[in-house]
């Protein structure tokens, strides 16, 4: 039996009715509701006596605590139940396949693009709303406006609120976290016309009852359920109230005087008007560009001055795995509060590229260690090696989950240091960037003058700048100018939103391959003559050249560069296999055929 773990979000609307907003997979159970408003007990009761094996498919970054909670309860209440698990990477589109059996309950918590519930209705909230409208349940969902094929859906509520609250939310149909825009709209006819000209977006009313604002903080409902079997039956795991991270802004904080007919209120208000918490996204990990490293001879090195081959001061941790696979590094633990014997300060060579991500959301974390003069600023999803007193272990923990009262920092001399601040900081505007790099095995770069460790990521690389990407409307744009949220053409026609952009600061001699206006690294998948290949296999002209920066974009499918379809994913999301003759096959097209509901 297969079951899919989903959550769904609801708001109490202006008329005090409860309305569905969206459903989610890859969903997180927040620690403060575990065993309070959320319980695994309905699942445990369901599998008790009917199954002898529970298999859990999950993602360590977002499911670590909830899976640990589930396993503990099953082991306690059903000691004869066999528990197995498999892990997917954070951005995997398809989780590992698990063979079903009559004695086994498979709980899938990781997103599966091959499942209709996930790909059609959780990944695309517009589909969920139109489905409900077509099934005569429009009064149960948030009022919305959008066009699907030849059908226009329009239940929008155009009333305005008080001046510090938006009245509309504009979203991409395929949900991207950073592309939810809160708006104050007065000229609705013009706005609806503009929405109608694109197939990529829809608009919903920002609905919130006066009852859903307590002490000036907005709240909403989130339900958790497991839907299972061919009839999509469901187990209710609980409904929680979620409060916003910040109180509603004042009129002056949203600069109301500048508001015109259709005003976007800006990303800095996201955590005031929504009840979302910081989501796990790799591109929000790394050091903020206020920070510095130390060179091998203790000189300060700016992030922008770091390049491959350079030696940085680092701390070697004996036995630490060298991986960017979260299923390994999130499960890596050092018992107690001292570093393993043999751990030491050393120098470490920077491997490969230094990777920089723009801070598109304008959120940073300020982490201040006792005794340090200043905080260290990092991306919210950076994981650091830290000590948790209750667990009595040192392990990687995401900054966005660390409560400074329970978690400590272990100096290189094994002394314990308090974390005195771990602040979520919202900037006035998205500013700066995050940098990650990869150093030698088991080494951790020391940041600035603090004994600070963070997990460094492996890198990917792709195209030289200047090559032109074909946009959805047929226009051309240099790859380095393509932005998140742009729509691009694919080999199958107009299609895809750009989900992420990558700039790799290489600054070294690199072997590159050229064909016409494309200059590319050896292995980026390209679609030529009806199959996926790469420049090296195609025998393109190559030469070693000095490369400053390389660029890539991530899309839902592929994209077209100088007329050639290229994989719009990062390399670790591609299926790379070797056949019996030892030849490598790269399946770069992540388009998935839907075949199963779950």
């Amino acid at each position: 039996m297969k079951g899919t773990f989903i959550s769904s979000d609801y708001i109490k609307a202006r008329d005090n009715s409860i309305r569905f907003i969206e459903a989610n997979t890859d969903t997180i159970v927040y620690d403060d509701i575990l065993d309070v408003e959320f319980s695994w007990q309905p699942l445990i009761d369901f599998i008790s006596g009917s199954y002898d094996t529970l298999h859990i498919i999950h993602k360590p970054e977002i499911h670590y605590n909830s899976v640990r909670n589930l396993k503990s309860k099953v082991q306690s209440q059903l000691p004869s139940m066999a528990i197995s698990e498999s892990t997917a990477k954070l951005f995997d589109l398809v989780p590992p396949a698990v063979e079903d059996a009559s004695n086994k309950f498979i709980l899938r918590m990781a997103y599966d693009g091959g499942a209709i519930v996930d790909s059609e209705y959780c990944a695309d909230s517009f589909n969920a709303l139109t489905l409900m409208a077509e099934a005569n349940h429009a009064s149960e969902v948030i009022p919305f406006y959008g066009i699907s094929g030849s059908t226009t859906f329009n239940t929008i509520n155009t009333a305005s609120y008080s001046s510090n609250v938006p009245n509309a939310v504009i979203k991409y149909k395929a949900f991207l976290n950073n592309d939810v825009g809160f708006h104050q709209i007065t000229d609705w006819p013009a706005k609806l016309t503009s929405i109608g000209t694109t197939d990529a977006k829809y608009i919903s009313s920002f609905e919130i009852s006066d009852e859903s604002i307590t002490d000036n903080v907005a709240w909403s409902y989130r339900n958790y359920a497991i839907t299972y079997g061919s009839d999509l039956d469901s187990l209710d795991l609980g409904t929680a109230i979620k409060y916003a991270e910040f109180s509603l802004p004042t009129t002056s904080q949203i600069n109301f005087s500048s508001i015109s007919e259709n005003t976007y209120l800006g990303p800095k208000h996201y955590y005031e008007y929504s009840t979302s918490t910081i989501k796990a996204q790799g591109r929000r990990a790394g050091l903020y560009n206020t920070e510095t490293f130390l060179s091998g001879n203790n000189e300060s090195v700016a992030l922008t001055d770091v390049s491959a081959g350079q030696v940085l001061k680092s701390f070697y941790v004996e036995g630490m795995p060298d991986t960017d696979d979260p299923s390994i590094y999130y499960n890596y633990e050092i018992a107690g509060k001292t570093w393993p014997a043999g751990s030491q300060i050393t120098g470490s060579v920077v491997q490969g590229d230094v990777v920089t991500f723009d801070n598109n959301e304008g959120i940073i974390i300020g982490l201040k260690i006792s005794g340090a003069a200043n905080p260290v600023y990092l991306g919210p999803n950076t994981s650091i090696l830290s000590y948790h007193s209750s667990s009595n272990n040192i392990k990687f923990r995401a900054l966005s989950t660390i409560d400074e009262d329970d978690v400590y920092f272990v100096n290189t001399d094994n002394s314990i240091a308090d974390i005195v601040e771990n602040k979520m900081i919202v900037l006035n505007d998205p500013t700066g960037s995050f940098t990650t790099l990869d150093v030698e095995t088991a080494d951790n770069v020391i940041v600035g003058d603090t004994p600070m460790f963070y997990f460094s990521f492996h890198n990917k690389k792709c195209f030289m700048p200047g090559a032109k990407v074909t946009m959805e409307d047929g226009s051309l744009k240099a790859i380095e100018d393509v932005k998140v949220g742009d729509s691009v053409a694919t080999k199958d026609g107009p299609c895809c939103l750009v989900e992420d952009t990558y700039v790799y600061n290489v600054e070294q001699m690199t072997k590159m391959y050229t064909n016409g206006n494309i200059t590319v690294t050896d292995s980026h998948p390209l679609y030529i003559n009806g199959e996926w290949s790469n420049a090296e296999k195609l025998g393109w002209d190559s030469k070693v050249m000095y490369v400053k920066n390389l660029y890539n974009i991530k899309t839902q499918d592929n994209f077209i560069l100088e007329g050639i379809p290229a994989s719009g994913t990062t390399h670790n999301e591609l299926k790379v296999t070797k056949d019996s003759n030892g030849y490598t096959t790269i399946q770069g097209d992540n388009k998935i055929a839907n075949s199963n509901l779950l």
Binding site: A135, I241, T290, E404, I425
Partner: protein, 52 residues
């Protein structure tokens, strides 16, 4: 960028884990839970009806 610039760039800040609302946490009532379960049931039924 210098660290000293962060204060001037900051719009809002809070400690991780400290809620914006510090009063008694509201819990969903039985009626609210029943309504939500009914909507979810309609949602799953609509998926089933469309794809079966």
């Amino acid at each position: 960028m210098q660290k000293s610039q962060i204060a001037g760039l900051t719009y809002r800040e809070k400690e991780i884990g400290d809620p914006a609302y510090t009063g008694t946490k509201r819990v969903a009532s039985s009626d609210e839970k029943a309504t939500i379960n009914g909507i979810l049931s309609n949602f799953l039924s609509a998926i089933l009806a469309k794809h079966s």
